[in-house]
């Protein structure tokens, strides 16, 4: 906690006002809207409104499709997070070497972060295109592997994970690089004097120092793959084949926006909000701890 504080009766309120107003109007108001809507069954155009109590929730939690989409979300999120973090940590370590042209390499690794998920989806959709995409062609030619993501759920999932990892790579690398560069050289030199080989040096000295960033990125990537990948799924698989790539956010969108089941969709929103708030708390407790040492 800061010891030095300014004293002023009204200024602090004025300073937080814009953020509080924006939060109230664009977070709390809609959130209560969803909470309320989740208690009803409504016709698409809103001309019929039938109170349903907690029906929407019980039906959701009892539906196999909803549970499957939860499982899909976890598979997808863990795939993206672990795949992405492993790849980007490796690349960041490589790019952090004292070698010539470092800045150029770093730049070349960073840029995919700038690409919109929807645009990334379109690019990958074309690469994976069953009729004239390059990847199915190569796979069919090399291993006579039928890259049939239109029917094979796990292939479609793998494809989405690849695209998401690719898109997130630059961002993860940027953070890992930042972390690596903030490790004092004296620490590394000391470890070197101890005579540890590079691999052990990395796991014993560097990785522990990176763990705050790793945790931060873990949460961030989980949130990204749970929620921000909507544009990607929307552009590439639309949740298919079957329901194999229907992740929670996509289902909430699809049920509410496409199939006009506003009540169940609102209930899904509420459940998702609870999940996000949980993740936020987790991040928070951890971040608070970190600040204190």
């Amino acid at each position: 906690m800061k010891r030095t504080v300014f004293r002023n009766r009204w200024l602090p309120y004025l300073l937080v006002l814009p953020q509080v107003v924006v939060t109230l109007v664009f977070f709390f108001w809609p959130a209560f809207g969803s909470l309320r809507l989740a208690l009803y069954r409504t016709s698409p155009f809103g001309d019929r409104l039938i109170f349903a109590g907690l029906d929407n929730y019980t039906r959701l939690l009892g539906s196999g499709e909803y549970l499957q989409s939860a499982v899909n979300s976890f598979v997808f999120a863990f795939g993206v997070t672990f795949g992405g973090l492993t790849a980007s940590l490796g690349l960041a370590v490589l790019a952090n070497q004292k070698i010539r042209g470092l800045a150029i390499y770093r730049t070349a690794l960073l840029w995919p972060y700038g690409i919109a998920p929807a645009v990334a989806g379109i690019i990958w959709l074309f690469i994976f295109h069953p009729a004239y995409g390059v990847l199915p062609y190569v796979l069919a030619a090399v291993g006579s592997f039928q890259f049939n993501w239109l029917l094979e759920g796990w292939v479609a999932m793998l494809m989405l994970i690849t695209a998401a990892v690719w898109k997130q790579l630059g961002y993860n690398i940027a953070f890992f690089l930042a972390g690596l560069q903030s490790i004092p050289t004296s620490v590394l030199e000391a470890a070197q004097v101890d005579g540890a080989d590079p691999v052990r040096r990395f796991w014993r000295v560097v990785f522990p120092l990176l763990s705050p960033i790793t945790f931060f990125l873990f949460v961030l990537n989980m949130v990204f793959s749970f929620f921000e990948t909507f544009g990607l799924v929307h552009a590439v698989t639309q949740g298919g084949p079957g329901h194999a790539t229907e992740i929670l956010v996509y289902k909430a969108y699809n049920d509410g926006f496409v199939n006009q089941q506003l009540g169940t969709s609102a209930a899904q929103s509420v459940i998702l909000m609870v999940v996000v708030i949980g993740l936020t708390m987790l991040q928070f407790r951890y971040a608070e701890k970190r600040v204190t040492y």
Binding site: H129, A131, Q238, G240
Partner: protein
């Protein structure tokens, strides 16, 4: 409208001060939402421009609002917050939702109220019945299509088949496909787009089989899907069997499979008649069309309508109603209908437009343009083939397609897949019906 007042407000005020106290008579804007991109989106813009140039009072403004389902969803969201457009082109899937909504001004009512009649209102029966309730027209037929069969004549030749004869039955498709694969004329013999529409909805109507109870929802709210009968199972079994034999390639949902035909990678494809524009433009091979294939031993129904119709939304001023009535009259014009059919491949929807096209010798010169119309006017309209009018239609379609995919991936048999689809789909139907009890 927030945007004009907020952003243009000051500009307008300044302009008024310059011009004087009386603003020049501005055209009344009529917003028109749609879900068409590409060439068809361009044609829609062209229609709006033609109308705008034809009179001085109204300015029809078309706006793309996403895919067909997204357009409907955007319309609903807008209506709920009272920012709805004047008119919207909504796909056939949304028909029941729109009819039940109480959010639209029925077309017949609008025309009566304004004392305007549509010149080409003698719509062909399948189109008219799809969009009418109690014999009255509720939405303006616009872009209607149906499913037909396309085939690659070059591949047929290579496989030693008669290129001038389209396969007419599933048996003929199977025989042709075997030859095509054996002759290595193509790796993919048979495929289709819009899986639920072509391989469930159309096929049931075409063979006079029920899709749902209550005459597919025309008599009242349907609450039970009927597609897991002996016919449906036989049909899906056939697909699964063909897939194992390498005769059939699943090409994905919506129209994702279509490029396989135009790209010359698949010999036979069942999809929308409105695909023809793209085939004419992109196919670098000789091609032909035929009617939907028949499965032996079942009755004759008819193929059903797909595509979009124009709905007039409630909540607009009398003067705007007048403009919309004029616009609908403009759309119903024979010349426009004939032109629309020629440039897009959508069905000519009024008998007078058909007569005009016949008089010009259009169908003789373009026999492929005749296929869809010929098919739909030769079928039998029965309780099972006048169309499908169900609530939560998109959800039912999603369910059927997901189950088809699971079956083709070998996770379920045809019977299991259809049973599950009926179970889940009927829940969706009941859900909708219970709202309007």
């Amino acid at each position: 409208m927030a945007y004009p007042t907020r952003v243009l407000g000051p500009v307008l005020v300044a302009a008024l001060l310059l011009v004087g106290s009386r603003p020049a008579a501005a055209k009344t804007e009529l917003s028109w939402w749609h879900g068409n991109t590409g060439a068809i989106g361009d044609r829609i813009a062209e229609i709006a421009k033609k109308f705008n140039d034809s009179q001085a009072d109204y300015e029809v403004k078309p706006t793309y609002k996403g895919s067909y389902p997204e357009t409907l969803a955007a319309l609903i969201a807008a209506y709920r917050s009272k920012t709805q457009p004047h008119m919207a082109l909504i796909f056939e899937v949304g028909t029941q939702t729109m009819l039940a909504s109480g959010a639209v001004v029925p077309v017949f009512q609008l025309m009566k109220e304004q004392g305007v009649s549509i010149e080409g209102a003698d719509f062909i029966a399948p189109v008219k019945s799809y969009y009418s309730k109690d014999g009255q027209l509720y939405s303006m037929p616009f872009a209607s299509s149906t499913a037909i069969l396309y085939y690659n004549k070059d591949m047929f030749r290579k496989a030693g088949l008669d290129p001038n004869k389209a396969p007419a039955t599933f048996d003929e498709i199977e025989a042709a496909s075997k030859k095509i694969i054996a002759a290595n004329a193509s790796k993919c013999a048979f495929s289709h787009a819009w899986p639920s529409w072509t391989m469930v909805e159309q096929m049931h109507a075409w063979h006079d089989q029920p899709f749902a109870d209550q005459d597919n929802g025309f008599k009242g709210f349907a609450t039970q899907l009927r597609v897991n009968g002996e016919f449906g199972v036989k049909l899906w079994d056939t697909l699964a069997r063909w897939q194992k034999a390498g005769l059939y390639t699943y090409g994905g949902r919506t129209n994702k499979a279509e490029p396989m035909f135009t790209g010359g990678q698949c010999a036979i494809q069942v999809t929308s008649s409105a695909f023809m524009g793209a085939v004419m433009r992109d196919a670098k091979f000789e091609w032909g069309t035929g009617r939907l294939p028949r499965l032996g031993g079942y009755g004759q129904g008819n193929s059903i309508i797909g595509g979009t119709t124009l709905w007039v939304m409630k909540g607009h001023k009398p003067f705007e109603h007048r403009g919309m009535a004029q616009f609908l009259k403009f759309l119903g014009d024979d010349d426009l209908q004939a032109w629309w059919h020629q440039v897009t491949g959508y069905l000519p929807i009024s008998q007078s437009a058909v007569k005009r096209l016949e008089a010009e010798g259009w169908f003789k010169k373009h026999p492929n343009h005749f296929t869809a119309f010929d098919q739909i006017s030769s079928g039998k309209t029965t309780a099972n083939s006048q169309g499908i009018r169900i609530g939560n239609y998109q959800g039912v379609r999603d369910t059927l397609e997901a189950e088809l995919e699971e079956m083709l991936a070998g996770k379920k048999t045809a019977k299991q897949g259809l049973d599950d689809a009926v179970k889940k789909g009927s829940e969706l139907l009941k859900e909708f019906a219970s709202l309007y009890k």
